[in-house]
Amino acid sequence: MMVETNAGAQPAKLRKLIFQLLFGAICGAVGMGGALWVLDQQQGLLQEPGRLLAVGTGLVYLLTGLLVLAGVLMPGFGVRTLNVEDADEIQEQRTALIVGACAFVLVALFLGALVLAPAGGNLFVLTRGQSALLAGASAVALVILTLRYRHTGDELKREIGRDACSWTVGMLFLLLGGWGAAAQLGYAGAPDPLTLIAGLFALYLLAVFIAAGQRGMLKPR
């Protein structure tokens, strides 16, 4: 195989980047709008910050996971939406992409089960038992998937995973420590459980983006 040439590559990369941004924005807007509309039908739920954070975070995980899965199953679509050079790269990374996408969907299911659980006096879509079952099954599946495929991916991926964990812990100390201190001093209310859980997943997602960006993996290819 010969080296690739760069002639004409920059406009194509720019077109792909614009398409990715627009597509992501449209999917995000439609997904978030739809979820908020559904939640709005349930009185009082939109006033809970933790539930809103969980909905937003869960949707990002769900949409990302589904887009990656769609990209793997339809390489022609994946070349346009994923940050890969060509369809061959999708094939090369197939297992890692599918495992990552499934993990993201499981996180979304876990958060979704908690969001749809009864809160206080409000009875929502799921009963407490159904929510616990769905959240528990998602969590167990996520742990099994993570352990089973923990060696999937090469050393760069493992390095990014370590960096992301390091960033997550740092941000947790800063945000959670700061919030806890403020709550202890009476300057803020204590965080509710759903805020803690959704915040943890949101921070990890942010940390992954930071770590991947530091390694040049968010640069258009």
Binding site: M2, E92, A96, D154, L156, K157, R215, G216
Partner: protein, 68 residues
């Protein structure tokens, strides 16, 4: 760390994908090494050196010198 991986790869006439395949890593790893965003592990650096037929210190450049 500055390196000559891209230069050597292009001299060999290989794409990033081809080099990645020969080394058993992802293209993203090759890309990150070539753009100085990631220093490979010692085993990968040794494999690269072996593949290009060069000592590691000619492939990966380090200006550090021991002090007297």
């Amino acid at each position: 760390m500055e390196n000559r991986v891209k230069e050597r790869r292009e001299q060999a006439g290989w794409s990033q994908g081809e080099l990645a395949r020969r080394l058993g890593v992802s293209r993203q790893t090759i890309n990150a090494v070539e753009t100085d965003k990631y220093d490979p592990s010692l085993p990968l650096a040794l494999r690269m050196a072996k593949l290009f037929g060069q000592p590691v210190d000619q492939l990966f450049l380090d200006a550090w010198e021991p002090q007297e």
